[in-house]
């Protein structure tokens, strides 16, 4: 990890509200930032442990609903004449609860799904997201069903001299999302360069070999799902308290697909991948809004995606590193080529 580059990048992003104080721009950056955090969490599963989870929006939605419910308080009849009542909790506590609860759901899905792999895992994660959507639509006592939950309280922060402030301005929300995003990024960066992270990568590269050197598969896959789910839950919690209205649409498949596109186009299994992919695909629809017709926007979105995957199948970030390496020594064969040649040699 390149600390200097990272520090400059964070500094520039941090100063952005001063450089460009347009509230519309900051709000677009804020919502793109929330999707980027979700993409960072998906990258741990998809990019580092090599498991495709197509139900990642479920963790995002569980985080959003848990945080919203805890901060608003609820009472619900759970049968046998018992009512489960929870009083309204402070927003930060609700947010922390959301992270823990999604982590728990991550463990649950991990335990269930890692008995099966590949396509079966994909199907289980999709079904999980659908079930969550059905619950949020139909358990109206708890979730208000399709009406959604409204007037969710915002985050507040005690600032010296100013007292307790609600974080409702676009700049404040932007900084909040940036802080959580940087923490999520650092968490993944520290994880993947540690022994535990190496074990996860080993599972992606060669599961049988990983087991043979003593890496317990289920433990590390479950750990990766828990961490990944918890970060997605944090993104959901951020969404709930910044947009302040949620409805069952947070569980929609399209959100999962957006995360997958961000990760794959940016470069899965790289730290910068979800950030770069997220900035491009998170900002593009908004940036195009003023210039072209809505129908054309989606065409451009699709074409960009296809072009990236066609010409840079490993994603933008690895392609960028290849390019740097090529500038330094133009004679060397690009890594991808040599790998393909070797793969065919081994097979034959």
């Amino acid at each position: 990890m390149n600390w200097k580059l990272f520090a400059i990048f964070v500094l520039v992003l941090g100063l952005l509200p001063f450089l460009w104080p347009d509230p519309y721009f900051l709000s677009v950056m804020g919502s793109a930032g929330i999707m980027i955090i979700a993409a960072i969490s998906l990258n741990l599963l998809l990019g580092y442990t090599g498991q495709l989870s197509l139900g990642h929006a479920a963790f995002f939605g569980i985080g959003a609903y848990t945080s919203a419910l805890m901060s608003l308080g609820f009472d619900v009849d759970i049968g046998f004449g018992i009512t489960w009542q929870v009083d309204a909790k402070p927003v930060w506590l609700a947010f922390a609860t959301a992270i823990v609860v999604t982590g728990f759901f991550g463990w649950l899905v991990g335990k269930l799904a890692f008995k099966v792999r590949g396509a079966y895992f994909v199907v289980i994660t999709i079904s999980f997201a659908q079930v969550m959507r059905m619950i949020s639509l139909n358990w109206t006592d708890l979730t208000e069903g399709p009406m959604g939950m409204i007037s969710i309280p915002p985050f507040s922060l005690w600032i010296p001299g100013e007292g307790l402030m609600n974080l409702t301005s676009k700049a404040a929300i932007y900084w909040l999302v940036l802080t959580v995003g940087v923490l999520a990024y650092l968490l993944i960066a520290m994880l993947v360069s540690s022994r535990q992270g190496r074990a996860m990568i080993a599972l992606r590269e060669n599961e049988t070999l990983a087991t043979s050197v003593g890496i317990p598969v289920t433990y590390f896959l479950a750990l990766a799902t828990i961490i990944s789910a918890a970060i997605a839950g944090a993104a959901g919690g951020l969404y709930a308290h910044t947009v302040r209205i949620i409805d069952p649409d947070v569980f929609l498949f399209i959100y999962t697909v957006t995360m997958v596109i961000m990760v794959v186009a940016g470069g899965k299994g790289t730290l910068g991948g979800p950030v770069i992919g997220g900035l491009i695909f998170g900002l593009m629809p908004e940036m195009l809004r003023g210039t072209v017709q809505p129908e054309v926007q989606w065409v451009i979105y699709g074409i960009t995606m296809i072009v990236i995957l066609l010409f840079l199948p490993r994603g933008l970030v690895p392609a960028f590193y290849d390019f740097i390496a090529w500038i330094r020594s133009p004679g060397a064969i690009p890594e991808r080529e040599s790998r393909r040649v070797l793969a065919t040699e081994v097979k034959s």
């Binding site: 968490l187 520290m190 994880l191 540690s194 022994r195 535990q196 992270g197 190496r198 074990a199 990568i201 080993a202 590269e205 060669n206 049988t208 070999l209 990983a210 087991t211 043979s212 050197v213 003593g214 890496i215 317990p216 598969v217 750990l223 890594e335 040599s338 790998r339 070797l342 793969a343 081994v346």
Partner: protein, 267 residues
């Protein structure tokens, strides 16, 4: 013919199979297989194709639980244990084909393989606490030592997939060694190597044996088997048909029959 090198009953057995039977979809892949591997020897497991060698490996290393019988490692019953738990107890295997982490550098391949030597907890790792830093430094030093042992130091920063085939096989053995085995199972390590690579490989297996690690080898290259094995176990159609030192095995009629057939009698 004399039974030159009988293993004394008192010698400590690293690995023993007791009446192991393995049935796969009605086929008896291993039939009542019993043999012992004494400490510190290089033992080869040979036999014609389909004799059950790889199945025996899978049963020993925990990838397949046997239908019946027992596998003991240092007198502890490990039958049915998971592969990673058997690896923790000191038995590590290499694989026929997939033996390296392709997309990682040679250095990272070995660093990953030192997984079992690491103790730092998740929290210590994430917060980069002193324990993690010290451990990481120590593991990296061990990786350099291992690279010297494998004679791969000059390749440290290259992707494993870009190594030559012979070097990949050597790295594969290095990965297995990094798990600090007391007994190492090698599955056809010399398959596809050219003669000079085979010689280097043989030298490396000797170095491993000399360092006190017991080696169990499945191999088709008979020159290699005969020249480096202390003992040989011959399997045919799931049964042990002979066991002994290389000279005995070379002259054993049952072994010759298994490999060459007995001509008219079979027909």
């Amino acid at each position: 013919m004399t039974l030159a090198k009988q293993t004394p009953e008192t010698a400590s057995m690293v690995l023993s199979l007791e009446a192991v039977t393995m049935k796969i979809a009605g086929l008896v892949a291993l039939d009542n297989v019993t043999f012992n591997i004494p400490a510190g020897e290089i033992v080869s497991l040979i036999g014609p194709n389909g004799a059950g060698k790889t199945t025996a490996y899978n049963v020993i290393s925990g990838y397949m639980p046997p239908t019946s019988g027992k596998v003991r490692l240092f007198d502890e019953d490990i039958t049915g244990h998971a592969p990673h738990s058997i690896a923790t107890r000191g038995l590590v295997r290499s694989f026929q084909r997939t033996s390296v982490f392709d997309d990682q550098t040679v250095f990272d391949n070995l660093l990953t393989a030192y997984h079992l030597q690491g103790r730092a907890s998740l929290v210590q790792s994430l917060l980069r606490l002193p324990k993690f830093r010290a451990e990481e430094k120590q593991l990296k030093a061990r990786v350099w030592e291992m690279l010297d042992f494998l004679e791969l130091r000059h390749r440290a920063d290259e992707r494993a997939a870009s190594l030559s085939y012979g070097e990949q096989r050597i790295l594969g053995v290095g990965i297995a060694l990094a798990a600090n085995p007391k007994i190492l199972l090698l599955d056809e390590p010399a398959a596809g190597l050219n003669p000079s690579e085979t010689d280097e490989f043989k030298a490396m297996i000797r170095r491993i044996g000399d360092s006190g690690v017991t080696v169990l080898l499945v191999e088709h290259d008979m020159h290699m088997v005969m020249s480096i094995s202390d003992r040989i176990v011959v399997l045919n159609q799931g049964r042990v048909i002979a066991e002994g030192i290389p000279q005995e095995i070379q002259n054993n009629p049952a072994v010759i029959e298994a490999y060459l057939g007995s001509g008219v009698k079979r027909a």
